[in-house]
Each structure stands twice: as structure tokens, then as C-alpha cells.
Amino acid sequence: MTKVKTALGASLFLLVYLVLIPWLFREQPYRLGVLTTASVLSLISAGVWLMFYIGRINMGQGGFALVGGYSAAILVSKLGLSFWAALIGAGFITVVISVLVGLPLLRLKGVYFSMITLSLTETARLTAQSFPSLTNGTKGILNLPLPGALKIAGFTLIPDFASIDKHFAFYFLGAFLTILGFASLYRIVNSRLGWLFRSLQQNEDLASSFGVDVPRLRVIALAICAAFAGTGGAFFVTMQQSVYPATFTFQDSTYFLLYCFLGGLGSVWGAFVGAFVLFLSFEMLQGLNQFQPLIYSLIMIGMMLWLPNGLLSIKLPFSFNFFSKAGGPACKPEEEAGQP
């Protein structure tokens, strides 16, 4: 019964996401672009959500996204790789960097981990500025080519983006990556891995007492988180056809957190719902743009006070099992007075 409901919910969602929305906005490329951006932001936020799931607040997701973006841009513009190879390459490079950074940093708990990741975005931005030979410094890398055709054994899987409506192409590619990302996340949370991650969130010492390799699992979680950021960043940069040190800033890192909070940490779809609701409502209220950080902060405070488990924790009059099911406990990262 639940399985039927889940399948029904999933197909309904896919129908809206992949058919209805593109059809509604078929003649509004700008709006379609906004939706594509919302997709990719939700994908990057999904990584932050996973870190919440193991009880760590990652405030450096913008940094990982920037690493992914620059990796893709450099692989394409300097090494002449195709976008598709660069997309995978960017994800890979980000994962490697996250593991190197994570090995020492993940020993920190609670607010200490947040504080150190907070500096990661800045570190990434300054690094991008400091190696002009590779990154073009503050000018950034411009005029990135559109993704070419993806051919396997002479068979064209995806046509050259220049030869088709690129807005649609980007929308569907973004949707595909997002669906892939969230499907993986759903699978992680609902498999034994999810149990292990939840056990880390609740008590790392207890988990290690029955043989869980806590440091290794933490690094794995961060690597998955960074894979989302790297792939999302690479996609975003290709869509913008340019990358600057300010493509992802510290502000973006905090927005990724906010998307997770808004949607809810208790459900896999929290990051998705949060990113879409918040990003789209701001696009509709263009005039308020200069107050965006102010309004975001107020929302964040409000959420903490009145809806700590996010939008998805609101009980709807009809039961929409697809959303509420995959939960797991509301994750409040343990406020450990934490020794680093």
C-alpha cells in the first residue's frame, strides 16, 4: 500500500517536473532558466542536508560548488575536454578535495565544525583569485562553450546544445541531475547507510562502541555532499557560461543551509522544497531584491522559532505519503559543548 502510494507520488511529481512545467513555460526562457537554477541549487543543498543528517552543519558548501565550477571551467577551457567529461571530472575533483579537507576537519564537532567550514567558502574564493594563470583571477573564466553532443559508440545520446533550444536542454539536464541526486539521497536514507548516518547524528561514541568506523563514515558523507556541490557547481557554471570568484559566495553557503531549514531536515525532500519555495518566491518579488539577505535572515529566525522542522513538517489535510514518509527523526545536530 505504501509502495503504491510512493510510486504514485513519484510519478505525479515527475509528470509535473518533467512535462507540465516545461510545457507551461515553453515560451518563457527566462522563467525556465530560473527553474533550472532552482533545481541546481536544490541539488547543492541536498549535500548540506546530508551533512545535517550526520549531525554536522556544513557552512562551506558554496566553496565546494566553486571548486566544482572552476574545475569544469578549467577542464573545458584549458584542457579542451568536452562538457560531459568535465562534469564528471569536476565532481571527482571536488570529492578528492573534500576528502583531503574533511579528514582533519571532521574531527571537529558542533559549532567548531561550522566555524571552520564557514571559512572554506572564503578560502575557495581567495584561491580562485590568487592563481590568475589558471583561473584568470578576478576576471573569471568567460565564454565557456555550450555542452556539445554526447555520443557513445557513434550513437548520439544528447544532441549539441547549440543545435537545440538550450533553455530546454539545460532545464532537462538540470532536472535529470537533481532527480539522480535526490534518488541517491532517498536510497541512502532508507538503506542501512541511513541507519548508520542517523546513529552518527545521535551519538558518535555509541556508534563506535559497536564497531562503526565513525571517521570513515563521516568522510563518506562529506564526499557525497561534495559530489553534489561539485556537479551542481559545474552545471551552474556551464549554464552561465562563465565563472567568477564570486559565483558562489559565503552568502550562497548560508542560503543552502536556509533552503534545508525551510524545507525541513526531517525529510529527504526538504532541500528540494526549500530551494524551490524560497528561490522562486524571490524571483516573483523582484522589487525586494535589495532586501533579500534581510528577509532571508528573518525567515531563518522565524523558522527556528515556529517551525523548527521545516515546511514539510506541516500536517496537510490530505496525507501525502510520498513526502512525509522518508523522514527519519527530525535532525537536530547535537549541541555538544564539544571538545574539538
Partner: protein, 295 residues
Amino acid sequence: MTPMNPTPLMEVRNLTKRFGGLVAVNDVSFAVQEGEILSVIGPNGAGKSTLFKLASSFLTPTSGRVFFRGEDVTSQSPHIAARKGIVRTFQETTIFRNMTALDNVVVAHHLRSRASLPGFFFGTKTAGEDEKRFRESASEILNYLGLGDVRDMIASTLPHGHLRALGIAIGMAADPKLLLLDEPFAGMNSEETTQAIRMVRGIRDRGVTIILVEHDMSAVMTISDRIVVLNFGKKIAEGTPAGIQNDELVIEAYLGREDENEEDVNEENVNEENGDEETQESNASSRKAGIENVP
């Protein structure tokens, strides 16, 4: 001292742990034989908890070695210790509070898992079999420890005594050879204690060796094969319960010397059960009763 077998299950040799200027554990050595129940007792601040963490690899000693089945296991990670069969429990608050009792124990079966991490992700057949096996085994453990009726309750809603048993159930799930119990009888009334003692003995009879750290003197005297007594980080006595009760140093550690101000002596070690026997007794003699009036 009892005669030693060639290879004890765990041997602790000249263990010392310093925290800055404080020497929490000072040159402590003892060994536990397979199938034994060994208790570590001592007044508050004697270094019991530190010793407990050192033995279970949750702390690294400043000097000294820990051997498990003759193998040097000093300064390894706690999860490696658990893999070798050295499993510790925590005091009651340390459980997965948001999970049901059953799920707590299922998760703790991690070590018995045959599937790999990607195997979990892709839901391979092995992973499915694991899951089924874990649920069965977890139910069995819960039933054995008398938690069968509350298996589907969220752990944070369980009463005190059940939480203690749940902590032990989590430890049992890891299939330990040596189970280290952290104050398993603390805060229990005499009926609960009797039950818990039976439970711990039952675990030993399943082939698990037990080291426990405990305040409850009468429970310790009842259950232990041997007792190690610490005071100010040093081992002051080791032996059978009967021997320990008559040990001058132990009595002194617990009761203080005659001329010492009684209030300096630790309140914690008073056995609460003795309170109602002779309420008008002085502090010191009730404490003495705690050591000597053993069922």
C-alpha cells in the same frame, strides 16, 4: 592473587593516564580470565571511569599496555576494539533516543553485517539477508533481556530500568567476547538490582566475559568473581569479594582513617539499601555495612 592462566582474555599492564598535572590512573595492572566477572570499584574520583575508557580504547593511555588474547591493542580506535570483541556499554542516557528499542539494537548489529556499504546502497541480496538476520537476532536479544514488550517504543519514552537493559542489549548486538559495563546497577532499587544481576550472569553464561565498574557495593559483592579496588588512581587491592571485604586498605579507602573528618569521605558509596536497616547509624558505620553486609 588468583593464579593466572597462560593467556588471560584481557590484560592491562602498568596503565597510566595523565590529564595535565592530574594522574587519573597510576600504574594499574590486572588481568581478566575468560568467563569471569571482574568488578572495578573505588570511591568517587578513584579513576574507575578513566580505567574503563582505557580498557575499551575510548582513551589512549599515557603509558602502559592493554593486551587482548595476548595481542597488543593499546591505542587502537574504539571501532577496531569492538571488531575484536571488546565492547563497552554506556550509562543509560547514551542510546539512540529517537529510534525504537528494536531499531537501536538492529543498528548495533553493524559488525555482523556481510554486505558492503555500496551493497546497502544498491540493496543487494546480501544486504537484505543481513537486515532480516539482524531483526531476528535483535528480537531475540530484546526478549532475553526482558524488553520484548517495549521493542516498538521510542527509546526516549522508556523508563529508567529499561534504558539500562537497552544499553546492554546494544552492547550484546555487537557480539562481544568481553563486555565492559558502565555502572549497570546505578539508581536501581533492590528488586531491579536482583533482576539485573541475574541478567548479567546470564550474559556471562552465554560465554561473554564481563568487566564492570560499579558503585553498588552489595551487587558487586554478589556478582563478582574477582574485584579490583582503585583509590586515587592506584590499585590498592585485588581479590575475591570475601578477601576484599576484610582488606585493611579498602576499608580505609571507603571509610577513612579513624581520626579523619567524616564529611571528607565520599557519600556516593553508601549503599542505599542499607539506609532503611539502621537509619540512625552513623555515616561511617553504614558505609561499613555497605561493604560487609552482603547477602
